[in-house]
């Protein structure tokens, strides 16, 4: 049977090449992701292991609470007095206090470096005098000695065109600071820790401008040779305050490595999802190709059975063929995956996540997972066609080839398809609207069931759908359109299976398009409803930093400005859940923002008060006057009275407090955004100009009018859309490959018919056009079903995302129209190859073949 499988493979090289390509692309994407994950993991493990190798003990504040997964434990700072106590502990060779916070470096040309709101952080800290404890190594220049000296990372120096001796600005706590670059450093063997921008000050300066005077974020300790880290840690523990902890350097390094791995695992999961989508689409193509070839080989298989092959042997021969393709394509995919890993690394670099150049980590796990998944997908997809091949009766050898019109769908198909689809919808809705464990998995399974269900129903609807889609063609394009439509209709199962692959791709593209459009529309609606001001100053610092609060205060004194308020956001543990707390100056802010107070009053927002969004209040069963337990990382547990309940989720999110309450509980002093309302009498342009002038002292901040603010806020969505489109492109490419392959097989099957058409007067151009239209009908069919599913997915997710502020369901008709047109065009492109082959057929030979 092996010989049979092999010779069959060799006889159908081209069609099997297409199948192999589909498997190869999916596996390459998966292998690439795994290789990159391992490479990044190993790189950062080595890096952190290296730079912290001499740090034996770390003293830091105990964790106040755990933040969301990506942000880790939230802790305050330790009193600087602890340093002297630690240094006095026997066995301590050296100890240094470190601070770590926000500092935004301005490039030579005046733009702010990095994208801390959605990329690698903008870090500020102290230059550790001890070379043993300093993770940074000077590459040029000297350590900071003057108060305005800084050492910067080599990546920022390169990106910002800064050299030793350059004078530039750093945005820190308080007013912007003029600094001189005294040195340029590397982080271990890399230019920067993970692409972050780093500015390192003299320790006392860093305490003042980055953290708070008299405090450290941690104290790093190097042990004497004769004492172990754990021994020293317990000795140190005895001399530090109860709010602080002493842990071994190895434990901290492990924490950092794990945090990095967790952060990167989001990316890994994200990419693997797309790899699996590509493989799923590929599975449809494999199924289809094998179904067609098995049907075409009915006679051959009948002959094998007549000659004494058992069912099992015929089945095994087909599966063996799939296995050979699966193994070859997966192994090839594995190696292509190495290239993909390099490409993905470049992609990460583009979004600001720099991975130090080092060798590629190619683990056995990657090999096993990639090859196993690739082979499993190929064989699973070929199983049903293989069983069909096994069921061919010996008498088939004596019967004419079956190229006629296929039987219509069975009742069982309708029942199974409907059950799958309905079950999928129910699962999806359960995952979205009720609280279940692992909602993402539940939703994913639901979506998958819907896609499978519709695929099963596909052949039932393929005929009428082709008839409808092809109707205008038949009318406008005459006989070529007519034949295209008839051919698309003649084998509904094949048409359905071919278009199903595209359906999946389009469903996801449509879904993400609708979701993003809805998110943007919601955002715009919210801004229209809640933002009654005129100008927004965005520092682009995200939650990590911003500008000096003095900036907003200064704006209020301008004659063109009626009100201005800084807005800050930080994490706190409210009623047991880590949440973002937004703060602003109530007196100013409520002239600019209308967060729709429902009960209570903004006047009551004092130092001990908090405001809660209505949905959260309902979830917690609280109302105005109730007290919420809140834990702050800097000041610990507090009781906050609910002063107000409000209805608008943006920009205040779920919890809001006054600036006074914020200042009382957080040590950082940054406004991440400033909202501004112009004076009634002031000209809009003049007001904008006045704010811009005031902001000139803070390079790198954006001064935006209403429209600009909307655009600015939409940017992350657009970036996400582009990324997802690019990633889904692979699945769509495979789907188109599938259409081309089906068409090629159909052409092969219809050789005689094509000869006949040519004999009675069909020109080559007409034949090509007819096949192109047929392909377009198949593509449009997948697109139509995909869009219906995509709209449903989009609608469901939008409805389930109201707590994220996505409340408006938008149907971006122009974008969806573009998708339809592109799908039709892509279908026609996919037909080019098969159409050319068909047109080149020798008429006489084609007629003679039966």
């Amino acid at each position: 049977m092996f010989a049979t499988a092999l010779s069959s493979l060799l006889a159908h090289k081209l069609r099997m090449l297409a199948v192999a390509t589909a498997v190869l692309l999916g596996v390459a994407f998966m292998a690439g992701t795994l290789v990159l994950t391992d490479t990044v993991g190993r790189t950062f493990d080595n890096l952190f292991g290296d730079v912290y190798k001499n740090t034996d003990v770390v003293v830091r504040a105990k964790a106040a609470f755990d933040g969301p997964t990506a942000m880790g434990a939230q802790r305050g700072r330790v009193d600087a007095a602890a340093l002297a106590a630690v240094r006095a502990v026997p066995g301590v060779r050296e100890a240094q206090g470190n601070v770590l916070g926000y500092a935004r470096l301005i490039a030579k040309d005046g733009h702010a470096l990095g994208h801390p709101s959605n990329g690698a952080p903008a870090l500020g800290g102290d230059w550790t005098v001890s070379t043993r404890l300093n993770p940074y190594t000077l590459a040029a220049g000297s350590p900071p000695t003057a108060a305005d000296d800084v050492v910067i990372d080599r990546k920022s120096a390169r990106d910002g065109d800064l050299q030793v001796g350059s004078v530039t600005t750093v945005l820190v706590q308080g007013p912007p600071m003029k600094v001189r670059v005294s040195g340029i450093a590397t982080f271990g063997s890399t230019d920067s820790p993970g692409g972050a921008t780093v500015v390192l000050f003299r320790s006392d300066v860093a305490q003042r401008v980055i953290a708070a005077p008299g405090t450290f974020d941690q104290i790093a300790v190097a042990a004497d040779r004769d004492v172990s880290s754990s021994q020293l840690a317990s000795r140190v523990r005895a001399v530090i305050p109860s709010t602080a902890e002493a842990v071994t350097g190895a434990a901290v390094t492990k924490e950092t490595q794990d945090a990095m791995a967790v952060a990167f695992s989001f990316f890994t999961t994200f990419m693997l999802v797309f790899a699996l989508i590509a493989l799923l689409v590929g599975a449809f193509m494999i199924f289809n190709t094998f179904s067609i070839t098995v049907a075409q080989r009915t006679r051959e298989n009948g002959l094998l059975r007549a000659l004494g092959a058992t069912r099992r042997q015929v089945l095994a021969a087909v599966l063996l063929e799939a296995l050979i393709i699966g193994v070859l394509a997966s192994v090839a995919g594995l190696f292509v995956g190495l290239g993909v890993a390099v490409g993905l690394k470049g992609l990460l670099g583009l979004i600001g996540f720099d991975i130090p150049a080092s060798g590629v980590v190619f683990t056995l796990k990657t090999v096993l997972v990639s090859v196993l998944v690739g082979v499993a997908v190929t064989c699973a997809a070929a199983l049903s066609p293989a069983r069909k091949a096994g069921r061919v009766p010996p008498i088939a050898a004596m019967q004419a080839g079956n190229t006629g019109v296929a039987v219509s769908s069975s009742r069982r198909r309708v029942v199974v398809g409907t059950i799958l689809t309905a079950g999928g919808v129910a699962t999806l809705m359960t995952g979205l609207f009720s609280s279940v464990g692992k909602p993402v998995t539940v939703v994913g399974v639901g979506a998958l069931l819907v896609l499978f269900g519709v695929s099963v129903l596909g052949p039932t609807v393929a005929r009428p759908l082709s008839r409808i889609i092809g109707a205008p063609l038949a009318r406008l394009r005459g006989v070529t359109g007519d034949l295209a439509r008839e051919n698309a209709m003649r084998n509904p199962r094949r048409t359905a299976a071919t278009s199903a692959a595209l359906m999946i791709g389009v469903a996801l593209v449509g879904f993400i398009t609708i979701f993003v459009a809805s998110a943007k529309a919601s955002l715009n609606d919210t801004i229209d409803r809640a933002f009654t001001g005129d100008i927004v100053v965005n520092t682009g610092a995200g939650m990590s930093g911003g500008v000096d609060p003095a900036f907003a205060r200064g704006l209020t004194t301008l004659p063109e400005i009626a009100a201005a308020s800084g807005v800050r956001q930080s994490l706190a543990l409210v009623a047991g859940d880590a949440a973002i707390v937004t703060a602003a100056d109530p007196k100013q802010a409520f002239q600019i923002l209308d967060i729709k107070p429902l009960s209570g009053s903004p006047d009551q927002l004092g130092v001990d008060a908090i405001a809660v969004h209505k949905d959260t209040a309902a979830r917690l069963h609280v109302r105005v006057g109730d007290v919420l337990p809140v834990v702050f990382k800097d000041t610990g547990p507090k009781s906050m009275r609910i002063a107000m309940i409000y209805g608008e989720i943006q920009p205040a999110r779920t919890y809001f407090m006054s600036m006074a309450a914020y200042d009382a509980n957080f040590s950082n002093r940054y406004d991440t955004m400033v909202f501004v309302k112009k004076a009634a009498t002031a000209d809009a342009a003049a007001a904008l100009q006045a704010v811009k002038q005031a902001a000139a002292a803070y390079p790198g901040v954006d001064v935006l009018d209403r429209a600009g603010f909307k655009t600015d806020q939409s940017k992350p969505f657009n970036q996400m859309l582009t990324l997802v489109y690019a990633l889904l492109g692979l699945a769509i490419l495979i789907a188109l490959l599938g259409i081309a392959n089906t068409l090629a097989l159909s052409v092969f099957e219809r050789t005689h018919e094509i000869g006949l058409l040519r004999a009675v007067g069909m020109t080559r151009a007409q034949l090509r056009a007819s096949l192109r239209w047929e392909s377009a009908i198949i593509a449009l069919q997948g697109t139509a079903l995909g869009l219906v599913i995509g709209i449903f997915f989009g609608w469901a997710l939008v409805r389930a995302s109201s707590s994220l502020g996505i409340t408006t369901f938008a149907l971006p008709v122009p974008s969806l129209g573009v998708i339809v047109v592109l799908a039709a065009l892509a279908g026609m492109v996919a037909a080019i190859g098969p159409a050319r082959r068909a047109a080149r057929l020798n008429v006489l030979k084609a007629i003679v073949s039966t």
Partner: protein, 252 residues
Amino acid sequence: MTTLLHPPITATQAAARTVDATKVYGRGQTEVRALDGVTIEFAQGQFTAIMGPSGCGKSTLLHCLAGLDDLTSGHAFIGDADLSALNDNELTLLRRERIGFVFQSYNLIPTLTALENIRLPLRLAGETGDTDWISTVIDTLGLTERTAHHPAEMSGGQQQRVAVARALATRPRIIFADEPTGNLDSKAGAEVLAFMRRAVDDMKQTIVMVTHDPNAASYADRIVFLADGRIVDEMEHPTAVRVLERMKRFGE
């Protein structure tokens, strides 16, 4: 169609003709001369049968005359058009407009109905054609009840009659039939041949038919016998008995 009008070598009334038509397959040791200098005319309004033993070149002659295959040397004409001077597109248009085909089997497009199959060459040309004529053809061939049927729903004889109707639909200069009754039982075959005869007698069509069946050949006005790629004999007003007699001599 002016592109198809090439200067004739000699003025003629023939619907189709060949001049020294030679077709060679293979080379050297494996060389086969399927046609070896065949010069023949097919007069307008005549029903000609081409006969001969297997491999005599009769099908090759038909294919070369119909523009489905090209000659190694010599010329084939449909009316005044020299086929060797036409490119693929011109040949296609010529087949569509001046030639009708009836093949041995699988003559029809399975996805189209009988009427659609009949009108296929016209629709490919973007024409509606002469609807009265088409109705007459359908009527004559007894297909009125079958026009909406798909090929799979018709008997072999009915399918072949649809093929004949299609060949007649464009009122071509000439119809080529390649063993049109080869796959039919004798009753259905006789029907189809009778209709072909009527097409010549009543509709003034020209038919050239390749067959190995003396009975089928007896419907023709004239029989041309081929052997080893050459014309070896001709017979006017044949009968089945005379044809059988002649065919027996090929075995000697």
